[in-house]
Amino acid sequence: MNLITARAIVEALIFASSEPLTIKTIAEITELDVRTAIQIVAELVDEYRHQQRGIQLLEVAGGYQFGTLPECAPYLEKMQKVPRSSGLSAAAIETLAIIAYKQPITKAEIEAMRGVSVESSIANLVDKNLITEVGRKDTPGRPILYGTTKQFLKHFGLNNLTELPQVMDWEKQGKLNFEEIAEVKNDV
């Protein structure tokens, strides 16, 4: 397998995968070493970027995925056969924001912050696979701790949680730093 066909294979793999493909998986499947895989992917990203294509190679949720250019969106909207994800309600996205920035967090903690019941928001978000149980809090009743999923990262176009836009003076209050969360996630 020379470098040109390796590139073609990596391109085909990323193209065919319905999920962002990690360097690790790419290396595993192609039997390339990780460094070569990284190099090939970087070359592909560059190529797509500089060829004025309608497609770009994106880094999302810790992996690589093809997507269209935002500039093409008005035309794509006109196309009927394009499945779009349904939007979230205002209440659900507020609950999701709290979970994203404060994870891991319990339902009661979110309710205290929002001042309303978040039962249905949480059910909705779990259903959409944007949040998930990440553990139990070591307090009486051992309430469920929620965190965001890989799908969350994908939905919001983030590579990892550190890419969440900064909210002034807020992150500091988080109970776990993001690297730790990332570790927990990977173990799940």
Partner: protein, 248 residues
């Protein structure tokens, strides 16, 4: 109808309160509690008139506001026996102010997240279409694309992979077990490493297959041969046991 829309705008009591504070240009750390309570109750009253869902949560906040209002009326010295200055935390409004500030940040975070979402919504991903056969399970939801039919199929596959010899209605003894055992011993001696399936490949009738299988089992039991696999899903191999070797 008009109010229903308003209720939708305010995602909860904190949202409403924050709106009242901001629209009246009030300092969050120094909320004129009487004024805010009055405005808040006005709004709640309309909600109650409309008998809409979720009013309960707004009423809890109303109670909190009135409680704070009552505390504000108490002589401050009651809580301050040593004659020290009141520290911020002793202000009955402190907790509410903290909550509101936190809620303001939540709103900010929500806005930022919405922007991310809008930006990502501009990017279209490939529809799975033609590649349905290359579906890869979505993260987080381990069962995402697994249907009941898939589960059944998996189980069926297990069943089919089981030794499931069917018998002729009238079993006719063609080759005896002893004969078959001797044959297998011969084969294994010749070939050293014999493919398990190869032993069966020459056999035609079901009864022969069964006899052969039993012969292998018998030989394994007698520690004459050893059955092993190179890898988990590898072919089963048969080999002669020379001396004392543990049987799998």
């Amino acid at each position: 109808m008009d109010y229903e829309i308003k209720l939708d705008i305010f995602k909860g009591p904190l949202d409403l309160l924050l709106h009242l504070i901001e629209s009246n240009e009030i300092d969050i750390y120094n909320i004129p509690i009487a004024l805010i309570t009055e405005k808040y109750l006005e709004y709640i009253h309309t909600l109650q008139l409309l008998n809409l869902e979720g009013v309960g949560e707004f009423i809890v906040m109303a109670a909190t506001l009135m409680q704070i209002k009552a505390k504000m009326l108490l002589p401050q010295l009651a809580n301050n026996e040593d004659g020290e200055f009141l520290i911020e935390e002793d202000d009955p409004r402190w907790e509410l102010a903290q909550k509101l500030i936190e809620y303001k940040r939540i709103k900010e975070a929500t806005e930022l997240l919405k922007q991310c979402e809008a930006k990502q919504a501009q990017i279209y991903l490939r529809s799975s279409g033609d590649f349905a056969d290359l579906k890869i399970g979505a993260p987080g939801d381990p069962l995402k694309d697994l249907s009941l039919a898939d589960l059944m199929k998996a189980f069926q596959a297990v069943l089919e992979s089981q030794e499931k010899p069917e018998l002729d209605a009238v079993p006719k003894q063609v080759v005896s077990l002893q004969q078959r055992m001797a044959e297998i011993m011969e084969l294994v001696t010749q070939e050293k490493h014999l493919f398990f399936c190869k032993v069966f490949s020459m056999l035609q009738t079901k009864i022969d297959l069964i006899t052969c299988f039993l012969a292998i089992l018998e030989l394994i039991k007698l520690k004459k041969i050893l059955a092993y696999q190179d890898s988990i899903f590898g072919e089963i191999m048969l080999t002669l046991i020379e001396e004392e070797v543990t049987v799998v």
